[in-house]
Amino acid sequence: MTTSRPAALAKWLGGIVVHMILVLVLVTIGVFLIVRLVPGDPAQMVLGIKARPEQIADIHHRLGLDQPIGKQFTSFIATLLTTGDTGQSIAYNVSSRALVLDRLPVSLWLICCSAILVVAISLPLAMTAAMHKGSWVDQLVRIVPTITLGMPEFWVGLVFVLLFAVTFKIFPVGGTQPGIDGMLYSMALPSLTIALAQTPFIVRSLRTRILEVLGADFVVTLHAAHLPERVIRRHVLRNALLPALQLYGMKISFLVGGTLVVEQVFGLKGVGSLLFGAITARDFPLIQAIAIYCALGVVLISVIVEIAGGLIDYRVRGRAEHASAGGMA
C-alpha cells in the first residue's frame, strides 16, 4: 500500500487534469459554435438591416467569417492558445482579452469578498445548528432557505440599497471608491447581497455534514476519552469542512453568476456589466472572451478546491478515483 501511494496520487491528479481539459475543450467548442448557431448573419445583427453589403463583407473579413468553418475553428483555437484572445471587440474596437482583463479586478474583489463573507457566516451558524439540534438557531437555519430560495439576487441588492444606503446611509449606493479601504467599503453591500443568496444552502448542507460527522465512530472515541466539548467540536468541524469545501467548489459557478448580475445593481464596472453591454451591442468576440474566461476561472477554482481537499484528506482521493472511474467508464 505504501509503495503504490505516489503512483495512486499521480493517477488521481492525472484524472482530474484530463477531466478539466475535456471540459475546457467542450466549453471552447461550444463558445465557438455559439456565433455560428445564431440564426441569420451575425454581421447583419451587429449592423442592423440598413447595412451596406461592403460593411457586412468588412465585418465578415475582420472576424474571419468568410473562411471555411474548419479554417475558422483552427485559427480561433490558434489565436486563443497563443494570445488568449478571441478577436477584436466590435463595440470597443480593441482586443477582447484586454477588455476582460481590465474589468476583472472589480469582479475578483466582489467574488473574494462574497466568498469570505459566506464562509464567515456559514461556519458558526451550521456548527451551532448541528450541535444544538432543535434549538432556535437550528430552526432558523432550516426555515431561512425556504424564504430566500425565491429571492432574485438583484432584488435583494435593491432592498439592501434601500435599507442600508438610502434609509440608514451606512454604505454607498454604488460604484467603487479608491484605496483598499474604499474598495472594501464599496464591496460591503454587493457581497452581502451575494452572501445572502448563497449562505442558506451552504449552511443547510454544512449542517447535514456536521450531523453525519457527529455520528461517526471516532466522535464516540473522543467522548470516551473525556475530551471537553470544545475540543470535540474542533475535530468534528475539521472533518465536516472538507466535504463542504468540495461542495463549495461545485457551487462556485453560482457565486460567479451572482456576481455578474449583482454588479449591475450596484453600478460596478466589472465583467458583468461588460457582458450585458456586449449582449445588447451583439459584440460576439467580446461575449466569447467573457464566456471562456469565466468558464476557465470556474474550472480552475473547482480543480484547486478538489486538489486541496485531496491532499489534505487521503479519503477524498479514493472517492475521487471512484467517481472519475465511474464517470469515464
Binding site: H19, L22, V23, L24, L26, V27, G30, I34, L37, V38, P39, P145, T146, I147, T148, L149, G150, M151, P152, E153, F154, W155, L158, V159, V161, L162, V166, V173, M250, S253, F254, V256, G257, G258, T259, L260, V261, Q264, V265, L275, F276, I279, T280, R282, F284, I287, I290, A291, C294, A295, V298, V299, G327, M328
Partner: protein, 269 residues
C-alpha cells in the same frame, strides 16, 4: 386517512400557491384599472386606498400590474419547464438504465454546462435565441433538461442494480416496458421534487432576465422589468421596485414549502 398524513409544509405551500394563483387571476378582473393604461396625472403615487400598491412612473396601477405580470411569469414558468422535464426525465431513464455512451454524453454535457456561471449561460443563449418569450423558451429548453437527466439517471442506475429488474427481464418483459412501467413510477417522485425547486430557480431566472432587459419585453408586464423600472426611483418611491420583488419571493416560498413537503412525504413513504 392518507389526508391527515400529508406534511404540514406541503399543505401550507399548496394553500399559499393557490392563493397567489387565485389573486393573479381575479385581481385584473375586479380592478377598475387596466395594467397598461398610462395616467400621467397620477404618476408614482404611494400606496393608498385607490391604489393599494401605489402607481409607477407612467401612472399605472401597480397592484393590477403585479397581478398581470404574475399571469405572464407564472404561465411562462410552468410552460417553459414542461418540455425540459419530459425530455430530461426520458434521457435520464435511458442513460441510467443502459449506461454506456448515453451516460457518458450526459455526464460530459452537464459538467461543461456547470462550468458556465448560470446567468452567463442564460445571457449567451438569450443572445443566440433573441430576447422575448421565444428566447426564454429556447434558452431553458437547451439547458433545463440536464438537471432532470442527472437526477433521474442516478436514481435509475441504482434501481437497475436491484434484483427485480433482472427477474423482470428473465420473465420476458421488454426493456421499454421495464423502463416505462417499472422504473418511471419509481424515479418520478424524485424528478418531481427537482421540478418544484427548479421552477423557483426558473422563475428567478425569468425575472432576472427581464431585469437585465434580456427577457420578457415591454409592453408585456413582467416582474423583472417592473423592478428595473423602479430602480431609478428607489430612494424616494420604494414601492415601485420592492412590491413586484415581494411577489416573486412569495411564489418562491410557496414552491419551496411544496418541495420540502414532497421531500418529507417521500422520506416517510
Amino acid at each position: 386517512m392518507k389526508q391527515s398524513r400529508l406534511p404540514r409544509t406541503l399543505i401550507a405551500g399548496i394553500a399559499l400557491l393557490a392563493a397567489i394563483v387565485l389573486a393573479v387571476l381575479i385581481i385584473p378582473l375586479l380592478s377598475p384599472y387596466d395594467p397598461t393604461a398610462e395616467d400621467i396625472s397620477s404618476m408614482l403615487q404611494p400606496p393608498s386606498f385607490a391604489h393599494p400598491f401605489g402607481t409607477d412612473q407612467l401612472g399605472r396601477d401597480l397592484l393590477v400590474r403585479v397581478a398581470a405580470a404574475g399571469r405572464v411569469d407564472l404561465a411562462l414558468m410552468v410552460g417553459v419547464e414542461l418540455l425540459p422535464f419530459v425530455i430530461g426525465t426520458l434521457a435520464g431513464l435511458i442513460a441510467g438504465y443502459y449506461g454506456g455512451w448515453p451516460n457518458r454524453i450526459i455526464t460530459l454535457f452537464s459538467d461543461a454546462l456547470i462550468a458556465f456561471p448560470f446567468y452567463l449561460l442564460v445571457a449567451v443563449v438569450a443572445f443566440v435565441t433573441g430576447t422575448g418569450i421565444t428566447g426564454i423558451f429556447l434558452t431553458f429548453l437547451i439547458m433545463g433538461w440536464i438537471i432532470f437527466a442527472r437526477t433521474v439517471k442516478g436514481a435509475t442506475a441504482s434501481l437497475a442494480e436491484e434484483e427485480w429488474v433482472e427477474s423482470a427481464r428473465v420473465m420476458g418483459f421488454s426493456n421499454t416496458s421495464i423502463l416505462l412501467r417499472q422504473m418511471l413510477p419509481n424515479v418520478l417522485s424524485q424528478a418531481v421534487i427537482v421540478l418544484v425547486s427548479d421552477m423557483v430557480a426558473l422563475l428567478v431566472a425569468i425575472v432576472t432576465l427581464g431585469y437585465l432587459g434580456l427577457g420578457v419585453t415591454p409592453p408585456t408586464p413582467d416582474w423583472g422589468t417592473m423592478i428595473a423600472d423602479g430602480q431609478s426611483f428607489l430612494a424616494t418611491r420604494w414601492w415601485v421596485s420592492t412590491l413586484p420583488g415581494a411577489a416573486v419571493v412569495l411564489v418562491g416560498i410557496a414552491l419551496a414549502l411544496i418541495g420540502d413537503g414532497l421531500n418529507d412525504a417521500r422520506r416517510r413513504a
